[in-house]
Symmetry: C2
Subunit: 186 residues, 2 copies
C-alpha cells in the first residue's frame, strides 16, 4: 500500500468530485477512472465519505498553496495583497476546469450541520476568513473583522457570478468593489 498511490487516488477523486458532484459520482466511476479495483480502493479508504474528506483536504491544501504563492508573487504590501486576491481569483476563473467552489458545493450536497463533510467545509471556510483577516490586520485597516468578512463575501459572490457566467469580468468588478471598501477603511 504505497503512500503516493493513495495520493494519486485522492487527486483523481478530487478532480472527479469537483467536476461531477459528490452524490452523482459513484465509487464504481472512481474505480474505473483510477484503474485499480474496488477492493483496493476500500483498502485505502474505509468509506466514500472518508475519500470525500481526503479530497476536500487535498483541495484546500493545493488551493491555499497556489493562492498564497500567487498573491506573494503579485504584491508585497498587505493592502496590495488584499487586492491581489482578486487577481488570483481571475486566474482561477479563466481556467477551463473552473466549476465554482468545491467547498460551497460540498456544503450544499451535505447540508446537515453535524455531517463530517459539512463540518469540514465550515472549518475550511473559517481558515479562509482567518487568512483574509490576517492581511486586513497587517494593512492596519479599520474594523478588521467586519472588513475581512465583507471582502470574503465579495470573493464568494464573484465565484458564484463566475459560475453562473453572466458577467465578463466578475473578479475585476469584485476587485473594484473591494478597493472601494478598503479605501473607505483606510
Amino acid at each position: 500500500m504505497r503512500k503516493n498511490k493513495r495520493d494519486e487516488l485522492v487527486q483523481q477523486a478530487m478532480e472527479t468530485f469537483y467536476r461531477n458532484g459528490f452524490h452523482a459520482t459513484g465509487m464504481d466511476m472512481l474505480v474505473a477512472e483510477s484503474g485499480i479495483s474496488k477492493t483496493s480502493m476500500y483498502k485505502h479508504f474505509k468509506s466514500k465519505d472518508e475519500l470525500i474528506l481526503a479530497a476536500l483536504k487535498l483541495r484546500e491544501e493545493q488551493f491555499h498553496n497556489w493562492s498564497a504563492q500567487r498573491v506573494a508573487e503579485l504584491a508585497s504590501e498587505p493592502r496590495d495583497q488584499l487586492l491581489a486576491l482578486f487577481d488570483v481569483l481571475d486566474e482561477w476563473f479563466k481556467e477551463d476546469t473552473f466549476k465554482s467552489c468545491m467547498f460551497i458545493k460540498a456544503s450544499s450536497e451535505y447540508p446537515e450541520p453535524d455531517h463530517p463533510i459539512h463540518q469540514q467545509t465550515v472549518e475550511q471556510r473559517n481558515a479562509m476568513y482567518e487568512g483574509v483577516l490576517t492581511l486586513v490586520e497587517a494593512a492596519a485597516l479599520k474594523n478588521p473583522e467586519a472588513l475581512a468578512r465583507q471582502l470574503l463575501m465579495l470573493q464568494e459572490g464573484a465565484i458564484i457570478t463566475a459560475h453562473f457566467g453572466n458577467s465578463k469580468d466578475p473578479a475585476g468588478e469584485a476587485k473594484q468593489a473591494a478597493k472601494a471598501l478598503i479605501d473607505a477603511a483606510s
Copy 2:
C-alpha cells in the same frame, strides 16, 4: 387530476429538495411524504427532473413575490430599496428553514451547462440581475450594469456567509458594503 393537487406536490417537493438536496432526495421519499402513490406522482410529472424544474420555478415565484413585497414595504425610493434588499436578506437568514440559496445548490448539483436544470438556474439568476439593475438605473447611479453585478455579488456572498454561519450579521455587513458602493456611485 386536480390542479391544486399538483401544486401541493410541487410545494412539498420544493421544501424537501431545498432541505435535503436534489440527488439525496429520492422519489420514494417524496412519495412517502406526500401520501400518494408513485403511480400518481408519475401521472403528474413525467420524470424527477420535471418535478425539480417545477419546484425551482415555484421557488422563484414565491421568493420573488415575497422579496418584492417586503422591499416595497420597507422603502419607496430606488436607492433605499436597493439597501432594503439586504434587510430582506436578513429576514430570510433568520428563518430557521434557511439553507442557502436553492438555485446555487441546484446549479452545483447539476453542473453540466446544457442540463435543463442548470440552464433554469442561470435564467433565474439573470432575472435576479435584471431586477437589481432596474433599481440601480431608477436610482440614477453610475455604471449601472457593473454596480448591479457588484451588489448581486454582495447578496450572494452574504447568502454563502450566512449558510456557513461564521458571521453574526452577514446581511448587515453586506448592507454596509453596499452602502459604500452606492455612495461612491452617486
